[in-house]
């Protein structure tokens, strides 16, 4: 029944002499929420970058749904259903919130390229409605006509989330979705992510907030200095002495 949607197979990546990722082997099961935690500089973001094609691994491969995606272009990987929500908001600052969400929505419906200039935006009501629905889900419906650059940092994060969710990805990669959010916003984001889980979306989540991690994750992988030091259910990981050491060490650095 359980099969791996994403398989990171023996991935190695170094920058100069720094081994950012060493022999990372990781499987993400269909329908689960898989958390990746670890101290700063552990290689978490590098791992996501390898998954979405932003970085090419030195060796190893990333397999999504039985197909090797290493070497594919970022937009091709996105079109296959692997979508990343960025840590530092990578929005379209000069566009309105609605337009920000419409862009990925059209990419989902019309593919990587289509000369869709025959119909105007307002003729595509279905897509606009979907975009507004997701903006509502992240609590930004009222601001849909504002220019995105005018948003607060927390709102930008939520916009990022809507931009990812509107594509209904098969695999959603979340890079610290609640960083920079107030406690209240964090809670509503966690609720939203739980709601998506019920819809069967597979998620990989990088997070520092342990409250968020333990309320969402089915499985946790712990990275430190580019290596996997623990992998298991939340309870297994909690009790692992190596994890505690890595975190304490991280804290003292």
């Amino acid at each position: 029944m359980e099969n791996a949607v994403l398989h990171v197979a023996d991935v190695h990546k170094s920058f100069g002499g720094l081994h950012a990722l060493s022999d990372i082997d990781l499987q993400v099961m269909e329908g689960t929420t898989h958390a990746i935690i670890g101290p700063n500089g552990a290689g978490k973001s590098t791992l996501l970058n390898v998954c979405i094609g932003r970085l090419a691994p030195d060796s190893g491969a990333v397999v999504f749904d039985g197909e090797v995606i290493t070497g594919k272009k970022p937009y091709e990987i996105n079109q296959m259903g692997v979508v990343r929500v960025f840590q530092t908001p990578e929005i379209f600052p000069d566009l309105t919130l609605l337009q920000n969400v419409l862009v990925p929505a059209f990419a989902k419906h019309d593919g990587a390229f289509r000369f869709n200039a025959v119909k105007s935006l307002q003729d595509r009501k279905d897509i606009a409605e979907e975009a507004e629905l997701w903006l509502g889900d992240v609590g930004l419906a009222a601001k849909k006509d504002l220019v995105a650059s005018s948003l607060s940092r927390g709102d930008k994060r939520r916009l990022e989330l809507a931009m990812g969710l509107v594509q209904r990805p098969r695999l959603l990669l979340l890079d610290e979705p609640t960083a920079g959010m107030s406690r209240h916003d964090t809670n509503s984001t966690v609720d939203l992510l739980k709601k998506i889980k019920e819809r069967g979306m597979t998620k990989v989540i990088i997070e520092h907030d342990m409250h968020v991690v333990f309320s969402l994750a089915d499985r946790i992988t712990v990275l430190a200095q580019g290596q996997i030091i623990a992998d298991g259910t939340p309870d297994e990981v909690k009790g692992n002495p190596k994890v505690q050491e890595a975190y304490l060490g991280g804290a003292h650095l």
Partner: protein, 395 residues
């Protein structure tokens, strides 16, 4: 079904009205009055307004929407002109085959130049387009002389075949028998209005071109182009392959330029290589920025503004100035004329340059931003409308 929003329909109607009424609107001063020299309602200039309006509109689809600054659009202008004159030489003076060919050849040309230039962005893209245009310009003078007739410029000679020329066909550019140079003059009280066939022909094409630009601006395709301008990298991670979007925008804007170049030759059956020179590419950049890049109306206004300056302001010479300031005491009059003189006549470039500097510094959104500020100052001040204007800058 394809339709326009109410607001856009009104906008289009306004543009149609302004375009069709241009021969009257640009002739506000009676003949023979001292201000008559500011009248711009003569055919040659009105045609230029419409043609350079098309050129700037097309340039704006690339530069205004995607932010990619091409410094080589004059090459397409030249290609369009040569295409039309070649059709005159081979087929006859009907402008239709030439204009169709102009759009096709400039499109192919844009596809080639765009395919290579778009491998780079920012300043490198601009330099590549500039290099290609200057290359075309120099080749037109040298290697391609058989095609371009070099320095003399391409024109129609008596020995040209003109296979489709009938015995009664007009001997100048025409649209199915309607000669471009024909005009109807209307005298009303002191005023004189000229309704020129060539102008109305270009005006109708300009309206169609405007309509297409409007559709592009309002389409998902246009949205993608705007997204490229604001954050191209993000599009890669949103599943959008940006390169074909850029290339399509480049080709469309090249076709607009080719059409404009073709229309130049449709009004005056000549094509010279100087049309491809970088100064012409620079001019369309000025028009677009002066009017307001990324807005629908801006580039057209910018084109009109610059062409007006070039043709009207440049005619004010020293003796005209002495006429104006004749009422001043002699010494003062000489002084005032001496001060103003460098800015008018031959010095119109200086005035234009100063205006350009002022616009870029104080109104980065161009003339359209100026209009918008005036609208805001006098118009409704509700939160609603200000949010709306922020959304659709100057549209």
């Amino acid at each position: 079904m394809t339709r326009l929003s109410r607001q856009d329909s009104l906008f289009l109607l306004l543009v149609v009205f302004l375009t069709l009424a241009t021969p009257i609107l640009l002739q506000p001063f009676p003949e023979g009055s001292s201000l008559a020299q500011f009248n711009a309602g003569y055919p040659d200039l009105m045609q230029r307004f419409a043609i350079y309006g098309i050129f700037a509109m097309g340039f704006n689809i690339l530069f205004g929407l995607t932010g990619y600054l091409s410094f080589g659009h004059a090459a397409f202008l030249g290609v369009g002109s040569y295409s039309v004159v070649w059709m005159y030489k081979l087929l006859g003076f009907n402008v239709v085959p030439g204009l169709i060919l102009a759009v096709i050849t400039s499109g192919i040309f844009a596809l080639l130049i765009g395919y290579i230039s778009l491998r780079r962005s920012g300043i490198y893209f601009s330099i590549l387009t500039l290099a290609f245009a200057q290359m075309s310009y120099n080749l037109a003078y040298s290697v391609f002389t058989p095609l371009t007739n070099g320095e003399t410029g391409l024109q129609v000679y008596g020995k040209d075949p003109q296979y489709l020329m009938g015995p009664n066909s007009p001997n100048s550019p025409h649209f199915f028998g309607l000669a471009m140079i024909d005009s109807v003059k209307l005298h009303l009280a002191g005023w004189e209005f000229t309704f020129n066939i060539g102008y109305y022909f270009t005006a109708v094409i300009a309206i169609i071109a405007f309509y297409i630009a409007l559709r592009i601006f309002r389409s998902p395709f246009g949205l993608m182009l705007r997204a490229i301008k604001t954050n191209r990298t993000r599009l890669d991670y949103s599943g959008v392959n940006t390169r074909p979007y850029m290339l399509t925008a480049f080709v469309i804007s090249g076709m607009y330029a080719g059409l404009a170049g073709g229309l130049l030759a449709a009004m005056d059956p000549l094509a010279g290589a100087e049309r491809m020179q970088w100064t012409a590419s620079g001019e369309v950049v000025l028009m677009t920025i002066l009017g307001g890049a990324g807005t629908l109306m801006g580039p057209i206004l910018g084109a009109g503004f610059i062409k007006y300056f070039e043709n009207i302001f440049s005619k004010i010479n020293e003796s005209v100035l002495h006429d104006w300031f004749g009422w001043l005491p002699h010494g003062v009059q000489d002084f005032v004329v001496a001060v103003i003189n460098p800015f008018v006549g031959e010095g119109w470039h200086l005035t234009l340059g100063l205006i350009f500097v002022l616009v870029v510094v104080f109104l980065p959104g161009g003339i359209m931003e100026g209009f918008q500020r005036i609208w805001k100052a006098f118009g409704r001040k509700s939160v609603d409308s200000s949010a709306q204007t922020e959304l659709n800058p100057a549209e």
